[in-house]
């Protein structure tokens, strides 16, 4: 199961915007608020939700706080999606082939 807190946090439009913004690099609360035309308190609230969902990190920098993305939840989503890839990868034989290649690589590493 994919972490529902993370999905829930990302299902809010403005939080998703924040996350997309942070994909380009760490930002402070004020920068985020200004870029997305949000009020500061709401921005802080959204960031708190993202923080508690494990989606962002904070770093205190003097007077301000720099928020940045944590890789784990996105990586987890990517892995979770594996269970669904065959839905749209029509050429399953190619997928099989790919998986076989992975296996042979593993075997090589065993040696």
């Amino acid at each position: 199961m994919m972490d529902t807190a993370a999905l829930s946090a990302l299902s809010e439009p403005k939080r998703q915007q924040i996350v997309e913004l942070l994909a380009e690099g760490p930002l402070t609360v004020g920068e985020i608020a200004e870029t997305l035309c949000l009020r500061q308190p709401q921005t802080s609230k959204h960031l708190r939700v993202l923080l508690e969902a494990g989606i962002v990190n904070v770093r205190a920098e003097a007077n301000r706080r720099s928020y940045s993305l944590r890789p784990e939840p996105f990586q987890a989503m990517d892995h979770w999606l594996n269970a669904f890839r065959n839905l749209w990868m029509e050429r399953l034989d190619n997928l099989d082939h790919y998986l076989q290649q992975l296996q042979s690589k593993d075997k090589k590493q065993d040696r």
Copy 2:
């Protein structure tokens, strides 16, 4: 922006379970309810949400309804994640290399 309705639908634990179950193939309401120990009305409600979010399809089959996954939202999530892959793909030089290969392929196609 990733479709927030889809994410919202998936952020509910039982709906996520339903989706994971459907990943293995289409199922009817009763089958889903029994497998996940849900009551039938709740199951139908969850399926309705998933339906309106574009995550599942229905097919009327005689007395029952068969629900199945639609590939699009998952594919969309996969594409959306591309903006975040550099967060956990440490070897960015490899990614660069890969992108350069893609570009040269495009150029070949132009000729």
